[in-house]
């Protein structure tokens, strides 16, 4: 951190996609599929070098291809990704700059997990971390692990700051898929047991969000049960410090089979993004952003990075609310602020950042058209016909609450609900027009042939002279014709030539 003058750093590895419309918001910070890195770096003349070195260092540390975050993938968002440590605006913008990058194609696997575990004080030998089992983790519907490094204040004036490392691991496991019922136990889910607690830990709590009512039984009883964040929810807290030995947590429902009820409380804001159009020449991107709140207009920041090989046409940006197009000059136009950075071929991506006010209970659709760029044949990856990944768009819900009220309260239970809620859309796969990879041979040979045809015949014409071939016979004919003075015949003959 010091070597590369990093103020704040957030690195997330994700496999799978968090399904907002089924699972609600994630409890800990999540990200789009692949790897996402964003960092605030102190301003100095080496800032870009530092960023490059940082990605390379992290690449080595986590055995990931982070070094592929080069200038074609690096972005400086203007509105999204505010620092999570304490800051005041003027000081921040004068002294630090934000860099982000993501690799949607990156696969996350055990080689990334091991370095992550190594950062824990007791590795995976004690505490909750002993549940981390690669086999079960990579068998889950979704998992995401992150490292967040940020400065925190040591006193009320914030004169002393300390770095805080927050490591999170989220995974979605579905016991119903295996057994048909929703009974579960820790040992079943992770195939591991918590045997001891990490002696270095100040706190080691295991929290369980359970319904307020229901015909179920949890063994053993929780140390403490408190009211949850939302209605109909309780949080059961198990203090591992008190009873560290062999916590065999399990939950049983008094039912023989389970069917999902569809009355899940949906999150207020979620989004889907997809491609429109067909063919390998041009296409469009469409994003549907849902606001399910019955009475609130929700301000969000939409952030999308489109690689340079999709050439966006900003003048084709259209906004529809509930299927009705909204004119950009109208009062109801939901885009209040738009920041657009056009892409540069082979050097930087296009960035769209928009402050959008989502009307209550609505679907806001953004659509924009693009041309697919024809790449040089060396720019295609070995599996050219697989296509190229386009990273997730990020929707940041701008909360009106004061950060501290919310943040502090939840932090004492060991996890923190991020004050800005970030929603990631699907990553997309785009197929670009591919050349025939043996074409250079055809092109060189055939093109040279045609060029030779041109230069050959042109030089032939320009350097050689015309001469008449006079034979005796010709002269006779000539004389005859001149005598006869038959214009028509001559013309015909000329035309034949």
């Amino acid at each position: 951190m010091q070597q590369y003058s990093v103020r704040e750093l957030h690195l997330t590895f994700t496999q799978g996609r968090w399904e907002y419309d089924k699972w609600g918001y994630p409890l800990s910070s999540s990200a789009g599929t692949g790897v996402e890195l964003w960092a605030w770096l102190w301003k100095n003349e080496n800032l870009d070098d530092n960023w490059k070195s940082l990605t390379n260092a992290l690449s080595g540390l986590f055995c990931a291809s982070l070094n592929f975050i080069d200038e074609t993938k690096t972005v400086q968002p203007q509105l999204s990704f505010r620092p999570e440590g304490p800051y005041n605006d003027t000081e921040l913008y004068d002294s630090a700059e934000l860099r982000t990058g993501s690799l949607p194609h990156e696969n996350v696997c055990t080689e990334n997990l091991t370095p992550w575990i190594k950062l824990l004080p007791c590795k995976s030998t004690a505490g909750i971390a002993s549940l981390v089992n690669g086999h079960e983790l990579y068998n889950s519907n979704f998992h995401s692990m992150s490292i967040n490094v940020r400065p925190v204040c040591q006193d009320s004036e914030c004169t002393h700051q300390q770095l805080e490392i927050l490591q999170t691991l989220s995974t979605v496991i579905n016991p119903v898929r295996n057994k048909g019922v929703r009974d579960w136990s820790l040992s079943e889910l992770y195939n591991r047991k918590i045997l001891r607690v990490c002696p270095l830990a100040n706190e080691s709590n295991l929290l369980l969000i359970i319904p307020e009512e229901g015909d179920f039984e949890i063994i053993p009883e929780a140390d403490q049960v408190i009211k949850g964040e939302t209605i109909n929810q309780n949080i059961a807290i198990y203090d591992l410090k008190k009873d560290p030995h062999n916590l065999q947590l399990s939950m049983k429902w008094n039912e023989t089979q389970f069917t999902y009820d569809n009355q899940v409380i949906l999150p207020q804001v979620f989004a889907h993004r997809y491609f429109s159009g067909y063919g390998e020449e041009r296409g469009g991107i469409k994003v549907n952003i849902f606001n399910k709140s019955p009475d609130l207009t929700i301000p969000i920041i939409y952030y999308d990075v489109i690689p340079w090989y999709l050439k966006l046409y900003l003048h084709t940006l259209k906004v529809r609310i509930n299927g009705v197009e909204v004119n950009s000059k109208s009062k109801d136009y939901p885009i209040k602020d738009l920041y657009y950075q056009p892409a540069m071929d082979r050097s930087r991506p296009a960035v769209i950042e928009a402050l959008i006010h989502l009307p209550s209970n609505s679907i806001t659709t953004l659509s924009i058209l693009f041309d697919k760029v024809f790449l040089k044949y060396t720019e295609h990856p070995p599996d050219a016909n697989r296509g190229f990944d386009v990273g997730s768009a990020v929707i940041t819900v701008v909360s009106n609450k004061k950060d501290n009220d919310d943040g502090e309260k939840t932090e004492e239970y060991g996890f923190k609900i991020e004050s800005p809620i970030r929603i990631y859309t699907e990553t997309l796969l785009v197929s670009l027009p591919t050349p025939d990879f043996s074409m250079p041979y055809n092109v060189i040979t055939l093109t040279c042939t045609v060029l030779a045809l041109f230069f050959g015949s042109m030089f032939n014409l320009l350097t050689r002279q015309f001469v008449g071939l006079l034979t005796l016979n010709d002269e006779k004919i000539n004389e005859e014709k001149q005598d006869g003075n038959k214009d028509v015949d001559r013309r015909n003959e000329e035309a034949e030539k």
Binding site: Y278, G279, E280, E281, R282, W308, K311, L312, Y313, L314, H315, Y340, Q341, P342, A343, M344, D345, R346, A350, D371, V373, F374, L375, K376, P433, T434, P435, D436, M439, N442, V443, L446, T447, V450, L451, L453, F454, S457, M458, N460, L461, L462, R464, Q465, F466, V467, G468, L469, L470, T471, D474, I477, N478, D487, R490, R491, E493, E494, A495, K497
Partner: protein, 399 residues
């Protein structure tokens, strides 16, 4: 006689009228214009109207239009289209139609001037009838305009709103004024053409030659008739040198003015790299009908072909000497038929690959080359006949 001229003028009006109405009607079918505006054969990254719209949109919204990989056209086009963006789309269409008609009119004027100039030149007398007849002159000039206006390539280029039309117009104006001996206008329009698409840079040489001879083509009278004293010929060469210098200075001056105006408009020199840099370095690999034409010009389109094909009928006497007219016509016909099909097979159907389209661009290039070589042959062959009237009916070969 006067009635004959009147009928030919009426015919000319008819040609222009029909051309105008056809274009106006076709502009009403937005599917047709949309398809044409997205065809790689018709528009290229440096002439695309969609990209111009994007550049204009960025410019109007305070985003530097050249700070990105989309817009590669000259800044003054932005200034030209900015007021149009407040008007309905029909005005833009109307402007394209009018430019096309103006181009055709210029071509017919060029044709007439050329006929005047060639009047005193020796010719192959019995095939090329000497026509002092005003009527004939009028007639052939509207044929030239008509052939340009009803060339499908021209119509397609006009409907696609390709900005190559502006380059073509500048070149035509440059030629027209140079033939009239107007140095200031001639150099201005050639500078404008260079400014718009760089390659007309080469035209400064023929234009200077035209201007220096002030429209009088040096009559190629046999040398013995030239009776200049050595002193007068010397003074002539000096005055010619001054004239050449004048032309070149005017050209460079106009070009500098245009570039400076652009700089004032967009407030940076980025446009130089984004326009001329792109033309020279070809970072945008969108396929075009170039194939090997790329060697002579980057990002060619059928708009280029339509323009030089428009000049061909002016030299009707050369066309008579060309050997492969039928062959070239067929090549043009079948490459313009197959190119869209092969492109579709490659990009949309996925059942063909890039070789399909490449092959057809190659055929198109061969067509262009044959036409060019054939025209050169025809010109040389005709000259031979002019100077050797006695050998007219002999077999002629090259040595």
């Amino acid at each position: 006689m006067s009635t004959a001229i009147e009928t030919s003028i009426r015919r000319r009006d008819l040609v222009f009228g029909i051309a105008f109405i056809t274009r106006l009607l076709l502009f009403q079918f937005s599917e047709v214009t949309d398809i044409l505006a997205s065809r790689v054969e018709v528009v290229t990254p440096i002439t695309s109207f969609t990209r111009l719209t994007e550049g204009l949109y960025l410019f109007q919204n305070g985003v530097p239009p050249y700070d990105g990989g989309v817009f590669h056209q000259a800044p003054l086009l932005l200034a030209f289209f900015q007021p149009l963006s407040y008007l309905p789309d029909q005005f833009t269409s109307l402007i394209y139609i009018l430019i096309d008609l103006l181009l055709a009119y210029l071509l017919s004027q060029i044709s007439r001037i050329k006929q005047q100039l060639y009047k005193d030149l020796p010719r192959v007398d019995d095939i090329e009838l000497i026509d002092d007849n005003k009527n004939e002159e009028e007639e052939s000039s509207w044929v030239v305009a008509g052939l340009y206006l009803f060339n499908p390539f021209t119509i397609a280029t006009c409907l696609s709103k390709s900005t190559i039309t502006f380059t073509n117009l500048s070149i035509a104006l440059g030629t027209f004024y140079s033939l009239k001996g107007n140095k200031i206008h001639g150099c201005f329009w050639i500078a404008m053409a260079t400014y718009l698409s760089f390659y007309p840079l080469m035209l400064i040489i023929p234009i200077t030659m035209l201007l220096v001879n002030s429209g009088k083509i040096m009559s190629r009278t046999p040398p013995q008739q030239e009776s200049f004293s050595s002193s007068s010929s010397k003074s002539i060469t000096i005055s010619k040198k001054i004239e050449i210098a004048q032309c070149i200075i005017l050209y460079i001056g106009w070009l500098a003015v245009l570039l400076l105006l652009s700089f004032i408009l967009v407030e940076s020199w980025d446009f130089l790299e984004a326009t001329y840099g792109v033309i020279l370095l070809l970072p945008d690999l969108t396929p075009n009908i170039g194939g090997i034409m790329a060697v002579f010009k980057s990002y060619p389109s059928i708009g280029d072909a339509s323009f030089y094909l428009g000049f061909l009928p002016i030299y009707s006497e050369i066309v008579k000497y060309m050997r492969y007219n039928f062959f070239t016509t067929n090549i043009f016909l079948y490459s313009s038929l197959l190119a869209p099909i092969f492109y579709h097979l490659w990009i949309y159907a996925g059942s063909g690959n890039a070789n399909f389209f490449y092959a057809i661009t190659l055929v198109y290039s061969v067509g262009n080359i044959i036409l060019l070589v054939d025209a050169t042959f025809a010109m040389l062959r005709r000259e031979f006949d002019v100077w050797n009237p006695k050998l007219r009916y002999c077999e002629v070969t090259q040595r």
